[in-house]
Amino acid sequence: MRIGIPYGLFYFYYYPLWKTFFSDLGAEVITSSPTCRLTVDAGSALAVDEACLPVKVYYGHVRELCSQDLDYLFAPRLVSVEPRSYICPKFMGIPDMLRAQVPGLPQLIDITVDLSRSDRYLQQDLIKVGRMLGYKKSAIQEAFQHALEENRRCIQIASQGWSMAEAIKIWDGNLLEPPEAGDLSIGLLGHGYSLYDEGLSMGLISKIRQLGCKVHLLESLDAERIEMEAATMPKRVFWTLGRKIMGGVINMNKREEIDGIIYLACFGCGPDSMIGEMAERYTTGKPFMLLTIDEHSGEAGMMTRLEAFCDMLRRRRRVDESQFPAYG
């Protein structure tokens, strides 16, 4: 039994979970290759023009998997991963969108993950899928427990300063060289499927590291801490990723060792347009930069902006160190 998992969207949060779950149930899990120009082009040709870059990239990966001789393609409807919160309207429509727009689609496993009220339906869906693969309820439940554990292990790896994409590689048994420590520290925020996908983000994390900065990501912060900080906002943010980002911003804003904050937004992304604005408003004590990308963005332009930002941070620091007030 061959099951495909596209290298996009929820991959960067839950790959270890689903890989473990399906492997435990005797399936072979196939992923598409890392995002590149071809992925973006293939996805853009299929999706509507107005779709955001991550959705187009996801389509591109699905396209690639269509030619992989799969029994199933795993494309869940990810509505909500915790009570009273959502991911994004687009995640909620993904299986229907693929069915309407991707020719030659393998049969979908499109279970619905909606934990906004309870996890009963998810459990039912899991059992259904497990039975389809020929397993009994107890084995399925065991596989899911194991899967949750493996996902936690991967997040644990990420908390040591790796991006989720790197953590997944390490979790999968690869050895990675730790990034060199730089003289600047930058808090980097955004949705994981854009931030950690080096093909989609045009290598943003590596570029920042190349410029001599240590990159701080959400995963390296204490999860409870983030929730506490986010809870100080006047209205609860009902997007899971957005709420964590806001908690992260408030936290990073307070931390002396972080010199500046960069927010990676996707052009046309709904949550980013609101959270990006709030993040900027909540960053009061240090420089903030909003980087917006889409499928037409160029690497050179991004590099220039990053260089300018780092130069500015270094200047600020020199001024600070020589005891001059930062603003004349």
Binding site: A47, V48, E50, A51, R77, V79, R84, S85, Y86, I87, C88, P89, K90, M92, G93, P95, D96, M97, R99, A100, Q101, T112, P234, K235, V237, F238, W239, A265, F267, G268, C269, G270, P271, D272, S273, M274, G276, E277, M278, R281, T292
Partner: protein, 364 residues
């Protein structure tokens, strides 16, 4: 206390009636103009969806007229609308305005909840007055919508289209001013009689279903007056949503009138099998309903980057094929040019007309 609120089509009429009924000073923001949009665009996040920008423009213009309290609807996702009020408040505070914002959060709202919230705004009103104010507002809304629907039917059929629009507008103003039920009804009856009396031509009329994002459908200034353009080109437009539907389905949980909401959701299957926030699923369901009721074409409208509508648009191609009905999508933002929109509508209608006459030839 001077209370204002955002515009959404003729919504200002019931709100005005409601607030006056609970003895509140009302500032109706000036109608949405290029200046409103300009102000909104200048101070809102660049990538925000258009309704937020227009809200901000409305609020600034209302505060210039002395408003010090803003009433706004809220929500809990999954779409951006639920966070509008927060961002708008921050923007206006930064601009130095001093005001209160009352957010009507309606998660699982009931009529009694709404009543309490309404009474909370009008401190000097009794509960009975609040109740009557709500009823009168609802009545006015119903009467205004009768005018809207009559105009939609007649506009493509009458010869003097300017005149009918003028009659309609005078009628809307009349309903806004009228202070009791019988005068409201009188204005409505007179206006409809007057509209009906205009001379009509006998050309064949195309029927178009207008679907998409709620606010864009309800506030003509955000859609380059699509419905009127279509009427003038000779197409009768049915909208998928009227303000009363929105109030009924979203503010009071379907309590005021029976709703066909469930039927619409059923029709969205198998194309879209889950809600996706905003009106995405309704858009798909309505497209199917229109197709099955013999409409000639469907036009989907929404603000650029509108997430639920993008999901809906993604499956509309399949709807169009399976249900055999032509669909077109138009997104709007601050750069939309009326002339360009008009041209696209004309081309679409031309295509439908050709298709229809071919079909008629084949069958006749």
């Amino acid at each position: 206390m001077k209370v204002s609120f955002p515009h959404m089509g003729n919504m200002f009429i019931p709100i005005n009636a409601l607030l006056k009924g609970i003895h509140v000073d009302v500032v109706v923001p000036p109608p949405v103009t290029a200046r409103t949009l300009e102000l909104g665009v200048k101070y809102s996040p660049e990538c925000a969806c258009l309704p937020l920008k227009i809200n901000v423009g409305n609020f600034i213009e209302a505060m210039e007229m002395g408003a010090d309290t803003i009433v706004m609807a809220g929500g809990w996702g999954p779409c951006r609308f639920g966070y509008y009020a927060q961002v708008e408040r921050e923007i206006l505070r930064d601009l130095g305005y001093c005001f209160d914002m009352v957010v009507l959060e309606a998660p699982d709202s009931k009529l009694s909840e709404l009543l309490k919230q309404v009474k909370g705004i009008g401190e000097n009103a009794t509960l009975k007055e609040a109740y009557q104010a709500i009823k009168f507002a609802w009545f006015k809304l119903g009467e205004v919508e009768m005018l809207e629907k009559r105009l939609e039917y007649l506009l493509p059929r009458v010869i003097d289209q300017n005149q009918i629009e003028q009659i309609y507008e005078a009628g809307v103003r009349g309903i806004d001013k009228a202070e009791d039920r019988s005068s409201v009804r009188m204005v409505r009856l007179d206006t409809i009689k007057h509209m009906d009396s205009l001379a009509r031509h006998q050309r064949s009329i195309l029927k178009i279903g207008l679907i998409g994002e709620i606010y864009t459908i309800l506030e003509p200034s955000t859609n380059c007056h699509v419905a009127r353009c279509l009427g003038r080109i000779g197409a009768e437009v049915s909208r998928s949503i009227y303000i009363s539907d929105w109030v009924n389905d979203h503010l009071v949980g379907g309590l005021i009138k029976p709703s066909n909401h469930r039927q619409i959701l059923r029709s969205s299957r198998p194309y879209l099998n889950y809600h996706v926030g905003g009106h995405g699923r309704e858009t798909v369901g309505n497209a199917v309903e229109f197709a099955r009721s013999g409409y000639d074409g469907i036009i989907q409208i929404g603000p650029l980057t509108c997430m639920p509508e993008i999901v809906a648009q993604s499956v509309l191609g399949r709807v169009s094929e399976t249900e055999a009905i032509p669909c077109m999508t138009i997104y709007f933002d601050e750069h939309s040019a009326p002339a360009g929109v008009y041209t696209r509508l004309e081309a679409f209608i031309d295509m439908l007309q050709r298709k229809k006459s071919l079909a008629n030839m084949a069958s006749g």
